[in-house]
């Protein structure tokens, strides 16, 4: 019998948008493997970091950013959103499917929202299946 698919997600997040200890309850649920990359601001996420996550075997990449009007560095969330959009197009061109990469706004105190985002990401990845370039 085939082993059930357990998506590997690389999670980039601004340290102000997400509290790892409070929000990674899904790891305990045993249906997902999450690797987190903490960033001082989501604008630090570069195209190549996102692509290399897929090279390293991630089935999906999630970028959690602060709401656009709450970025401490003013434009960080907007910059991250533009980069993610660009890389989504690259993933479509490659044939990996841009839906494997997503960006969502969240804020540190809102664990319930973050859990919901993670569940939605797992659902999308379960539908897409494993990364064909892993």
């Amino acid at each position: 019998m085939n082993k059930p698919f357990k998506p590997k997600i690389t999670l980039f997040h601004c340290i102000n948008s997400f509290n790892e200890s409070a929000s990674l309850s899904l790891n305990g649920a045993n249906n997902v493997e999450i690797k987190t990359v903490r960033l001082p601001c989501s604008s630090m996420v570069k195209d190549v970091f996102l692509l290399r996550s897929f090279e390293s075997g991630a089935d999906g990449v999630l970028v959690l950013v602060c709401p656009e009007d709450q970025c401490r560095y003013v434009e960080g969330s907007i910059r991250a959103k533009k980069r993610v959009g660009w890389v989504q197009n690259v993933l479509d061109e490659i044939g990996l499917d841009g839906r494997r990469l997503s960006i969502r706004n969240t804020s540190s105190g809102n664990g319930a929202t973050t859990d919901k985002i993670l569940q939605e990401t797992v659902a999308v990845l379960t539908d897409l299946g494993p990364n064909p370039a892993a």
Partner: protein, 222 residues
């Protein structure tokens, strides 16, 4: 600077397809500034190509390297070891850089990864505009520093056409009327009298239409 744009991924994949060991060679000057071929673009393209080839089950080894300028031998030399380790080079420089590398390494195919677009400036973040056609005979002094040969859609040298509306060219809403800019600039400089000068038809023999150009500086030749 020279402004260029990276070729579409599908075209690059097609170009590099026949080779097994590929060096992606970046250029750290003009094309870096316009986000087409600097170190970051080399890394991103290499990663995207590795994903494509892995997905398709092809075993192509990709190496990354960036030098300061691909149009000068002094810098090209720094890449010679990396070039020697590979069976092809994808250059992310402008056309001059690609040819300079090809001239230096006769037995290695040097492939272009960038479409060289124009000589221009960074107008605002992420926006590049063409400012110079390299005509070989600069007359910006008369035109207040605004080039009608490059920036007027009709290349008019003796005043505006009738197609300018509110400072915008009738050819494209994204193009400012060069003659509007020239007149405003000459007014600001107190040189409106320049407009009375008759500019004779342009002698294009100093431009590329006279064939490939060559500049010789005897004082630098030993």
């Amino acid at each position: 600077m020279i402004v260029g744009e990276q070729k579409p991924l599908a075209e690059i994949k097609e170009i590099v397809g026949p080779y097994r060991k590929l060096l992606i060679l970046g250029c750290g000057t003009c094309v870096k500034t316009c986000f087409a071929g600097g170190e970051d673009e080399v890394a991103t393209l290499a990663s995207a190509l590795r994903l494509i080839f892995k997905k398709e089950g092809q075993n192509i080894k990709i190496e990354e390297f960036t030098i300061e300028r691909q149009c000068e031998n002094e810098f090209i030399q720094e890449a010679s070891e990396a070039i020697g380790r590979n069976d092809s080079v994808l250059s992310l420089a402008c056309g001059a850089g690609v040819q300079a590398i090809a001239r230096r390494f006769a037995k290695i195919p040097v492939l272009p990864g960038v479409n060289t677009t124009f000589i221009g400036v960074l107008e605002s973040q992420g926006v590049f505009t063409e400012e110079c056609s390299g005509c070989g005979n600069c007359e910006l002094a008369i035109f207040g520093g605004v080039c009608p040969i490059t920036r007027c859609s009709k290349k008019l040298l003796n005043g505006p056409c009738g197609g300018s509306r509110h400072g915008i060219c009738e050819v494209s809403p994204d193009t400012e009327c060069a003659w509007q800019l020239i007149i405003e600039r000459l007014e600001a400089l107190g040189q409106v009298h320049n407009l009375r000068c008759y500019i004779s038809p342009k002698d294009w023999s100093s431009s590329n239409s006279g064939g490939p150009r060559r500049l010789v500086r005897e004082d630098h030749i030993i």
